[in-house]
Symmetry: D2
Subunit: 333 residues, 4 copies
């Protein structure tokens, strides 16, 4: 099968991580070039940290010979624009979440992708994590019977407030992973949400009506309940856990040890935990790109797809509105 030449838009934290995966760990892919703004380009070249050829902008990247597909890893506020550009160029694309800043723009982006008929995959890496995959397999196999309740929690260190200012808020940026995980694990749709939030970590979030702790109650289409908790606070490391309760049992996915090495000292046992999501999901990030490349090579449609990308944004939007308006909001309302 022909090798897929990949271009990356953005070499920030996640962009650089994807570039490195594509260069070293994704079979069948070739990292061709990356588009970075000139100041970043100078910085990368100065320290010898460019993983590949660097170009100035998206147009240059799309015009680079050998670029067969694009990974969109630009700042969230530019996702919409970049998806439109790549789709217009007729290139397959993998995009980080969220695909847009608003539901309207997200619909617009999805429509553009569909119109262009290009393969599209959204970056929900948990779907490629062995723990989530196995949990879903248990559930799909009936091991816990009928799904009756979901719970997800994600706690991460708070990013700089300037990043948060344009991120869409806690639900768009962080809880969105649990919203997607809820759909992935249960096989059910989130029908309506009720959200609440508080500010405990960063008072400046109040300036743009954001929160750093949030609790979102979910009602699934089946009538089952769920809850997502999210926070920009993880002093002990990146922390996520998913629980699905069913009529016959419960499945829990959680990593409590970074490394299976336990130190016994001073009257207790100590284990280290993952510090960053890039550690926790290191393999999943590679696996999702591998799946994208495999899909392109075999002609299968990538997954999770544009519909999943759109739904996650609709839920994030509903949760944000629910929190602001103090009422239940139907997803897609």
């Amino acid at each position: 099968m022909a090798e897929i030449g990949v271009g990356v838009i953005g070499l920030g934290r996640i962009g650089a991580f994807h570039a490195e995966s594509l260069r070293n760990r994704v079979a069948g892919a070739r990292l061709v070039a990356a588009a970075v703004a000139p100041p970043d380009r100078e910085r990368l070249l100065a320290v010898g940290a460019a993983p590949c050829a660097l170009v100035d902008d998206v147009d240059a990247l799309l015009a680079t010979p050998g670029v067969d597909a694009i990974v969109v890893a630009s700042p969230s506020s530019l996702h919409h624009e970049h998806i439109l550009r790549v789709a217009a160029a007729g290139k397959p694309l993998f995009s980080e979440k969220p695909i847009a800043d608003s539901v309207a723009q997200a619909r617009d982006a999805v429509a553009a992708v569909r119109r262009a008929g290009v393969p599209f995959q959204i970056g929900f890496q948990r779907r490629f994590d062995p723990a989530y995959i196995r949990a879903r397999e248990y559930i799909a196999a009936g091991s816990i019977g009928t799904v009756e309740m979901f719970r997800g929690i994600t706690c991460d260190r708070i990013p700089p407030v300037e990043f948060l200012r344009t991120s869409g808020g806690l639900f768009w940026d962080l809880a969105i992973h649990d919203f997607d995980a809820a759909r992935f694990l249960t096989g059910d749709e989130i029908a309506e949400v009720h959200a609440v939030g508080s500010i405990e970590v960063e008072p400046r979030l109040a300036e743009f009506d954001d929160v750093d702790y949030g609790i979102v109650t979910l009602r699934f289409a089946s009538g089952a309940l769920g809850v997502c908790q999210a926070s920009w606070r993880a002093p002990y490391g990146y922390d996520i856990r998913a629980e699905v309760h069913g009529s016959l049992g419960k499945v829990v996915a959680e990593v409590d040890e970074k490394i299976p090495t336990r130190l016994y000292r001073d009257g207790g046992m100590h284990v280290e935990r993952h510090d960053q999501f890039t550690e926790r999901f290191r393999e999943a990030y590679t696996a999702e790109l591998q799946a994208f490349v495999d899909a392109l090579q075999t002609g299968r449609a990538p997954s999770p797809d544009a519909a999943d990308a759109l739904r996650s944004v609709e839920i994030s939007d509903a949760a944000t509105r629910s929190r602001r308006e103090g009422r239940w909001v139907r997803v897609g309302e």
Copy 2:
């Protein structure tokens, strides 16, 4: 210190359990007699299962020589009446939760206890469980910094629907333990609640507007958030977990093994779990009675007290109303 003679009202599951503890495991206590309705009395006597002298009713129990204090373990719907009777007789009393069927009656019961000036303890045994005690100690010592979010979950096997019909519902009967645990662990007050429920297990609950799954979002007086999940579904055994997130860390209390014996077979590792709350909290049930007896012997006021009993009922009531009315309800509103 003089031995405390104890009389028990009711020898159902928890009453019989308390009687057995008092007889065998509570230092300084003497189980004197129990009040049971005549049919139950005949049954107990027939099988030789009476743990002590049996009398017909509360009046007879209060009149039994040597009965210094009373344990109220009658059906929940009789707690209010029995508390009034014991208080009127001037006897110290330990009562199972909830103390009444309604907030009005609960206030009435608490007022009666205060008027009588009798020592009173409410049966929140988690406060005597080593896991909860240690979690509170960590929190009180500042190990997790400022409390920023709480989460409790309790899953138990569903009791007979006839029991549930008079139990006050899921929040009064089951979630009440997490409401109290939230207060105990955080040292904060639950100010308002937002609840939702669903029926997954027992369709007949709809007849009396009850649910078997519930999620209650909490807002504490400090502004911190919390969530309690409760369900009448525990196919793998009694299941509880408490998590408290703070500015410096997180504390989790959960028992995942009934017995620290692990069986490796068939490609995996298996551990057994507690089947019943009487297994999980066996020691805590003894410890709470021991604390009650110790308090009586030393003249200290027992704890948790009537105010805790009342608050838990007010939260349960607020959650029930929130669920039915679909809105935030202030506790004590």
Copy 3:
């Protein structure tokens, strides 16, 4: 059933612990008196720590009215003498391990007990610990198939060297618990042993040819192998673990948490561990006395019995000789 009046010989650490259990937690038992040497008696009385009437010596204890049975908790070097005295008085007795300083004296003690026909139980409390009981149940039920290998390890804090000087050494005092556990769990006999030791903790052990680390390879009568590790070093708390490998699986008994409360801080998860064996086996120590009292009340023979007591000493002796002579030693050789 009539209450059993119990007298305790010795109120050192384990004697005081047993006395407290008998007074507060063992149903059907009444703690009548304890024999303690006059200086200890004065000390106990001075601080108000006498749990019962105190008498001067074993003869006085045996003559105390109401003393139906005896718990031997004197220093190990006196066990033999005290067992002979109690047996001669025709009283049932529970003795701490080891029953003697030498195999010859142990045989003598067992013969005396048998001659007197008195019920006898040896203090191997692990047989009453839920983890060991459940492990044995799994094995007896065939859950791991045929037993093929055993491994036990026990690490404890080092006692004062003066205590060790008369204790019989590491294998007599510490590893003896794993020797008995190996027999209890596997249902097999230890046929021969090969032992080695080293001194890492306390150089003065060399004065009396003792060691503080030891490894004993076992060969069972069935031909299966095993290994016991023991050390007087446990900086992180009392540490034991048993593993039994079989043709179909493996069973492991180990307590890794003192309390099921986990603290997440500073990049890791921390759990506390048991500090002392009296914490780890608190319930088992009560349960073994309860079993002894129950046996006396029902006329059943107590277990583990004199044969178990003797066998454990024979294995300890074989291990000690193996270590000193650098060769395999048959148990009972």
Copy 4:
């Protein structure tokens, strides 16, 4: 840095695994060709499973253009011969363990490698496993103080008896990993060993004086003790655990979950375990090849090296002789 062209000798289980790693996951390496015996070649080609060009024998592989370095993954009994051939050709080589069938041949192989001055790495992949690396880091940092006792255990499914017949036996083939891990973790040398074995799984092992269960007591140069247990029995999956006890604490490396997904059902909790060492050490196998390639590219000497390879064989030999002769054997005696 120039890409390293790699040739692989042997495409059995581990050879095929290495070839796949080199092709897809090792940066800076290019899989050029593999030498396989003609019948295997036909089979691989027939099913389209050849990962690269196939040649008939080692000479052809060494003569293949672009082959800069060799991975020796032939049957153990051919390692010695292949190492000599590759060294004679002046190529850097990575060899699976053990490097020879006898200590004499191992010394011969190591001498040949040294004479040729070619870079050499031995395949002890545990040294590249995060759990073992972290354990060593803790120990090297003094977290457990002075090392006082080691314990390793490795249980695996039994290979075909015909493989075992030429494998050198349980200690050469399986326990050798723990011997090396003991050296790696403690930083100490194993000075002498005392071994015992039994046959529980495969009676035909008696035909060539091998065993399927073995226990090896170790004495390190420092005087500290250790024990390695090994068995060809792992009905619940591949099972390894390392424990190092020190004056200040203990470190344990063990993976108890294949995937951090826990299923609660039927009164218990279940987790899956790794089935094969290729699952457990999947990343470590890649990491060791990556380290080899990195060393070649940077001119550093690879590690673990020929001295480590030789020492592991000397220990395996000493253990085998100890078991057969029933005595302590000094390593290298």
